[in-house]
């Protein structure tokens, strides 16, 4: 199965998990409390995030904490931001063009 950063951020729950651990490392249990889905479902997402190397788990005493792998997150940014900006700009221009054709015809 595909396991890269893009697969990692492809799901809204996983994006929400990442948003939570940006602020501070959290235990899987604490994370699960933020979601309506089952603990197992959240664990599965954490597992995928680890396989995508976006999340690292580290022991602190007896508890295990999920940390954000910021280095890996930067990869997403580097890849997609310019590409996205370019296309969004293009498409906004296309929106305007389409609006103008409409007006002309009516």
């Amino acid at each position: 199965m595909r396991r890269d950063v893009f697969q990692g951020i492809a799901d809204p729950t996983r994006r929400a998990i990442l948003n939570l651990i940006i602020v501070q490392a959290m235990t899987p249990n604490a994370l699960a409390e933020h979601f309506h889905s089952s603990r197992q479902a959240v664990s599965k997402h954490i597992k995928i995030l680890m396989e995508c190397q976006l999340v690292k788990q580290e022991y602190s005493g007896r508890e295990i904490y999920c940390h954000l792998n910021t280095k890996k997150m930067k990869e997403v940014d580097k890849w997609l931001k310019p590409f996205r900006t370019q296309w969004e700009t293009r498409f906004e221009q296309l929106d305007t063009v389409l609006k103008n054709i409409k007006t002309k015809n009516s």
Binding site: F6, L80, P82, T85, Q86, Q93, L94
Partner: protein
């Protein structure tokens, strides 16, 4: 009008980039905007770049030659060679950077484009699939987009500030 989200995904295993966007206009109009130069020139280059068509032969085996001109007057010459065209449904073409006479520059990776147009609730959905020969080619194009993307972002900002 609602701001439309541009969905972008990368499929490294298959050396593909996918871009999906919806437009608030019927398929026929969106198709025109993607295939008629008078309209293409108005939006194809991301601001502040401007697309200028040199020649267009929109049919299977035909070529679109154009250049993108920057605010400093610098030009990038490009061409698209159309392979298959199904009017108002889809077209497939091969993209390349070239010189002003259309001679292909082999230093840059070529991109294979597939654009599919379909009716959606709000008007038209366009699925763009860009395929590269190798993963390295894909990386190279994205890296190039890096610079261009930033320039485009600045263009947007200028416009915002001018309001």
């Amino acid at each position: 009008m609602v701001t439309k989200e541009t969905l972008i995904s990368k499929d490294a295993a298959n050396k593909k980039l996918k871009v999906v966007r919806e437009f608030d206009a019927p398929v026929e109009k969106v198709w025109k905007a993607w295939t008629e130069t008078e309209l293409l020139d108005q939006w194809w280059a991301p601001r502040p770049w401007k697309a200028n068509t040199q020649s267009m032969d929109f049919r299977e085996g035909g070529t679109w030659q154009y250049y993108m001109e920057g605010p400093d007057g610098s030009r990038h010459y490009c061409r698209a060679d159309y392979e298959t065209i199904v009017p108002n449904k889809s077209f497939v073409g091969l993209d390349a950077f070239c010189d002003e006479n259309g001679k292909i520059n082999d230093d840059f990776p070529r991109m294979h484009w597939k654009c599919v147009f379909s009716k959606s609730d709000s008007g038209t959905k366009v699925d763009v699939e860009i395929t590269f020969a190798t993963e390295a080619d894909m990386e190279k194009i994205i890296e190039m987009g890096f610079k261009e993307g930033f320039t485009a972002a600045h263009g947007n900002l200028d416009e915002l500030l001018a309001k």
